[in-house]
Symmetry: C2
Amino acid sequence: MKATSFDIAYRAGVSQSTVSRALRNSPLVNEETRLKVQAIAKELNYKVDKNARNLRSQQSNTIALLLFEDPTSDDSQINPFFMSMLGSITRACALEGYDLLVSFQEMANDWHAEYDDTNKADGIILLGYGDYLAYKEKLVHLNEQGTHFIRWGAEVKDMQVSTIGCDNYTGGYQLTQHLLEQGRKQCAFVGTSSHHAPEFRDRYRGYCQSLEQAGIEVDANLQIDALYTEEAGYIATKDLLTRGVKFDALFGACDLISIGAMRALQEHGLAIPKDVAVVGFDDIPMANFTNPALTTAKQDTLLAGQLLVANLIKIINGDAPSTFLIPAKIIERQSSM
Amino acid sequence: MKATSFDIAYRAGVSQSTVSRALRNSPLVNEETRLKVQAIAKELNYKVDKNARNLRSQQSNTIALLLFEDPTSDDSQINPFFMSMLGSITRACALEGYDLLVSFQEMANDWHAEYDDTNKADGIILLGYGDYLAYKEKLVHLNEQGTHFIRWGAEVKDMQVSTIGCDNYTGGYQLTQHLLEQGRKQCAFVGTSSHHAPEFRDRYRGYCQSLEQAGIEVDANLQIDALYTEEAGYIATKDLLTRGVKFDALFGACDLISIGAMRALQEHGLAIPKDVAVVGFDDIPMANFTNPALTTAKQDTLLAGQLLVANLIKIINGDAPSTFLIPAKIIERQSSM
DNA sequence: TTCCCTTTAGTAACGGCTTACGTTACTATT
DNA sequence: AATAGTAACGTAAGCCGTTACTAAAGGGAA
């Protein structure tokens, strides 16, 4: 049978409340008593019952991480970038003394009331892509309910929402600059530019800015939609090629897209980077192992995780929402040089 | 303020216990009453407080996943294979109605008393590599404490422990068979063969079995230690090459090792698969994107996750521990053909 | 009508902990 | 000596559900 604080109290000859205090190192209990209690607790292999503690103190010391995947993938791989985020968030939580509840969700579901409301978690981290409009609606709900949450991604306009995100705009700008510096003139952009994927849109805006600044007109024919996956990148690039569009550089809106694009290019007999220089975005582990290795904009997932967790805890403790942009760092590899 | 079952009881004109029953669809409450209660609950946006429920019912409907990483990596990438496992476990938990608490641990820590004991989780899933001896010791502790747990990996001898694992032996055998069928004669094995890494050892045993069966003597010079990482595979292979060992095939004990090995081979001016055929193990996402794409033994992570979760739940419900081996499936790609 | 069985609710006892408040025994103050 | 202050505990009231036990009402059989 599991020992309770009463068992300890009995053996120590003190009241149960004293046990509770002693175990929490309260200054209200005498050092001697405290040591005795703690010794007995250890002996009995006692562990505080988290449910009881949480119920009483009305907080769980737990953070819920909701990971949204794009709807097409049921059993397929999760984007490695989010996996990396998950890793750093896990670590950050551990450091801050919080437990982490992980849950994969689809946007359509009623996730917005499942954690904070039930006292299972003190706050929620939102991570992932998804239908942006539906998403925004749910964020409003969360705000109305007074749920503590923070999200990763591009800023949400017209709303007071804590957001940690990458500086996609500058990242997109710098990547394009890099391509131009390599002497490339016609740079394709594979990835949607619409507001449904705000991160991609911002990268696209950076791309446009760079081109315009260099006096190059943005050519709509050089942009083609693609969402998140290797397959999407492959198909879109294939499409571009069969349409006979000419380009000597290709900017994939995320690494997976770029990897798919490289596959399409190589199948088409094009050499990378000789015929087409390719860049991606994210710096997923794979990027370093493609052939040639992929130039990309690294998002600092370690920092991102730390900021997400630290700021969420601030929010839990009553601070106002705040927003941070993390700079992206260009990692130059062979695919563009 | 958050609504409690008392609030609902008051509005519905029934007792709080009736509310509790109604919300749990107990047959002890009249249909009409039940619908009324449920309607009010919905209206008030009521959610059961998990802490109270768990405290009372002495179970948490939560599973804890402990992920062990090899000690060298602090902020580096987690092995993609485990990430894939994590994904499938998450999904399996969701399907079974369990929440998932994720925690990264180091073997050295006191993880063996942190979850089940505190009623935070009903059971624990152990995942990852690590110092096997220390690990085994902790497993004994867990067993003594009556903790409900299950693990992924090679079987642990002399112990009653539920284990789900891949059939590493047969996988290793088949991969080697595959290499032999390609006409390769001298096959290097990069990966430790010691009992510290039981998965690797089993793969090595399969490798030996295949060679012997083909009448080829196992050459100790062709085996070199390497643990888990790309870097380790790179260094080990480099070592092999500088020692002037001749081989026309290379079996990496896991994909990351093989990827590192391929890097070393290519730097050394060797063509894959022409000069050296390479195979790996795991089928991590990267394996499909290396150049050339890596032939490997796919571990069915989806099935693995389901089995881990399903069997853990059985154990939680009082069933005896049981063990399953999942077959590996050879995925033939260009690196060996 | 009487007795018994069902159906449907209500009452109240927990689950194990935190913490506000009350109590006791001393020491310090005037 | 009377009073105040303090350190160190004890008492008990919750936190919010679940569920064993009890009760009331209605129906059918004898």
